[in-house]
Symmetry: C3
Subunit: 145 residues, 3 copies
């Protein structure tokens, strides 16, 4: 008997970011990892391990990238005197935390026939909301068969 | 030996929307698909394949449906001159994109004994933030046993 | 043949909350449950079964906990006359619903070698946005091997 069963596979992406709502597009990396895994049906969880970064999807278009940064600054304005986290912190990154927790650290994306079920313009992005350049990781976790 | 193992099942819902924060409730479709799958324990990932739509949960009550639309318009106001994505786009849907990326394209919902673990008033909704009527898909992906 | 396969495990956490953006940190409970499950590789879905609560991750620091509450009140201000859900409801909790749907009911977190892949300061939190004390549940669902 050959049992073709479920598999769980993990890949960690590493890259550097500029901070301040820096947006890294990682769709190709996720697509390639699904192919490498050999799984045809399943989900991939894309996870940002950190309290000042988030993962979501968006059309990766220059105007919209700029708009997205502006949008998150509108939602959580950088008025340092008004955030208590900044009172005791040299990093002054309270709004980085607020934006990251709101956008959320993970997305779960289905794949079928070995391909991610994304819309045509929909790309997977990691957003670094921190106030300074960082070395970052993203966890890709596949559960599939 | 009969091996009762894990299974992965997918169903694609299709429907038309009016755009402009049109909210479609899809709880019954997700519940029914869990039943059809035969899985008793697991998760269902509900995913919006597109950059101007989102999936979340809410109480599906007329007043709140109206409030939700107002809320997302407050968060990302439709002032076209202020969004760069609209400068080069005839669609003028920058805020559709911003709202969708913020709300997020996916939720993962556990089920147990063949039933979704939702709260009493908690319904699964697809929100179409685009500026025009669309033909839409939602991916339901079950991983369970 | 010994087949070491996938497993699905569920645990339900119960606790009481004060409402009004009360934030409960549940990282240790999730970590412990991964250990108990015996799974080394997989994901844990953390889900809030209710329409006025959410799950996300954040640095669990007193200043930031205070900032987070302020932030969600800024995003959805408590002006009761302006929300239609409050017109017919004695609970007056329209903004609880709006905040919860925006933040989202679930996160999916990978684990590897039996440990959650969280950042150093990143904790899992349940946020109760309701306007009154509640008895609450959180569903932890592990899919792993």
């Amino acid at each position: 008997m050959i049992y073709i069963g479920m598999k769980i596979k993990e890949k960690i992406l590493t890259f550097s970011t500029h901070g301040d709502c820096d947006i890294k597009e990682i769709t190709a990396e996720a697509e390639d990892f699904v192919k490498e895994s050999g799984a045809k049906e399943g989900i991939i969880v894309v996870f940002a391990p950190g309290a000042t970064a988030a993962v979501t999807t968006m059309e990766y278009e220059p105007g919209l990238i700029s708009d997205m940064k502006k949008f998150f600054r509108m939602l959580a304005p950088d008025e340092k005197e008004s955030w208590r986290h900044d009172a005791g912190s040299p990093s002054g990154n309270a709004t980085s935390h607020l934006r990251a927790s709101l956008a959320g650290p993970s997305v779960a994306i289905p794949f079928s026939d070995g391909k991610l079920s994304l819309g045509i313009w929909q790309k997977i992005v990691f957003i670094d909301f921190d106030t300074r350049p960082r070395s970052r990781k993203v966890i890709l976790k596949i559960i599939g068969e």
